[in-house]
Symmetry: C2
Subunit: 248 residues, 2 copies
DNA sequence: GCTTATCTGCTTGTCTGACAACTTGGCGCA
DNA sequence: TGCGCCAAGTTGTCAGACAAGCAGATAAGC
């Protein structure tokens, strides 16, 4: 994308229509298995051409909301809306879902991943982790940005579980929280010791995994994620069991 | 969808083209930020009409693979392919990703969720869990299908974490493994004691969560997932640390 | 000579019309 | 009653036209 693409462009008609139809499903106006209005009806109702309708439906298909049958119609798909998991961007974050929630999900996932990695890692896995740690150490000494190395380290741990699905999930999560790693490893992060702290936590994770100590690996990962959240100023407040919780 | 929709329909041209272009990205033929061939070029190269090209690109947009700019072209999006996490259906399961991998992901995720739920649950959460357990007990006594209740129980635990993102992820996972819960609660599952065993495990999870005992909740959830995998005949073989692993 | 405005060619976005392929229901015939 | 045919309706594809946006080249003005 060109560098000057800063201003948002107006939504295409197909995008708008796609969202409207999606809202119909979410609001229960259309239930699973229901047939959508025909293309012709949608053209008339929304005042757009058939091409726009077809593109909107193509989008809904890609998103798993509808299935089409030639000659028959378009139908709300089974499991509409839950065939993909996505984390909305911060500016479009769903109500109640902030970076804190994302880090909490990371914490419970990554502590389990580290545990499994400790049980499964190979010599090759450890070699890669060491290499990444070495590169991060150099970045630390030279005060260079190393958020990509940080991400690669976490992905390598997930790969060490030997479960491709886990690896893919970590890749997905890394992409979602990419921006949050940058401040730890920028000039200010180095200055404030954030990068050094993260590096120590990574070393602790590595040592536990290398030692094949699953529970130590879990604790190290949980500690790292907790500390990472604190570095970002995210405070996770656990409430006493039994009290009613206010959900923002 | 109609009941007689059993035979697979041939892929639409737009689907085929969408996949081809997606493969270009995955194989590195197109990198992030690269401009795709123009619509006209794609028409000529693939021998299809412009409408097919546009629908294929609409699909790719919905999937987060490309971004388009009117007058300029279509470009491979930042983070192409990792803006959504999906689990392919069993018949289209990615290489190495089977139900075993899915259950392993569930195990590490749900044990963490149960732990957090034990720390966070409210009286209202517990009341809902008890209600669901009561319904499952009735289903057990009457040998009825209760996979939906089973799913709702797990979702209620995720909701008890108070983290909407965690709740959404559990909803997503529930939809992906929907079919695997059915055999536990069908006539044969009842006959073989699978449903009764699952129910006991649910009760253990509930008790630990109700007691606010996070580590007991973690162990109960891990045990339940392990047992559920075994009920399905999925064997998770942990290899000795240090050995090279064969990844299927 | 430098800056601004205009023009041109190209590209995506939308609309329209036509035909192909599929689906279902109704009707006629054996 | 079952099978075949037909008509009407719906999605899939193709083709053409025009609108809107974009970037680069050129011309005009200072």
């Amino acid at each position: 994308m060109p560098e000057c693409a800063h201003l948002p462009r107006p939504l295409r008609l197909a995008d708008t229509l796609s969202r409207s139809l999606q809202d119909w499903v979410k609001q229960g106006r259309l239930a699973e298995g229901d047939r959508l209005p025909t293309e012709k009806q949608l053209c008339e109702r929304f005042g757009v051409s058939r091409a726009v309708v077809r593109e909107a439906i193509a989008r809904l298909q890609a998103d798993g909301y509808v299935e089409t049958r030639q000659g028959l119609g378009a139908f709300v798909a089974a499991g509409a809306g839950v065939s993909r998991f996505r984390i909305d961007r911060p500016d479009g974050m769903a109500a109640g879902e902030g970076l804190r929630e994302v880090f909490e999900l990371r914490q419970l996932m990554e502590s389990g991943i580290a545990e499994l990695a400790a049980a499964r890692r190979t010599d090759g896995d450890l070699s890669l982790l060491r290499d990444l740690l070495t590169q991060m150490e150099i970045a630390l000494a030279e005060r260079q940005q190393a958020s990509e190395l940080d991400d690669a380290f976490h992905r390598a741990i997930a790969a060490a579980t030997g479960n491709p699905l886990v690896a893919r999930f970590m890749e997905f999560m890394g992409a979602q929280i990419h921006g949050s790693r940058v401040p730890t490893w920028d000039a200010q992060g180095h200055q404030r010791g954030l990068a050094a702290a993260a590096h120590e936590e990574h070393l602790a994770m590595y040592r536990a995994i290398a030692a094949g100590d699953a529970s130590a690996a879990r604790r190290a990962a949980a500690g790292h994620l907790q500390a990472a959240a604190e570095r970002l100023g995210l405070v996770s407040v656990d409430r006493e069991p039994g009290t009613d919780r206010r959900r923002a």
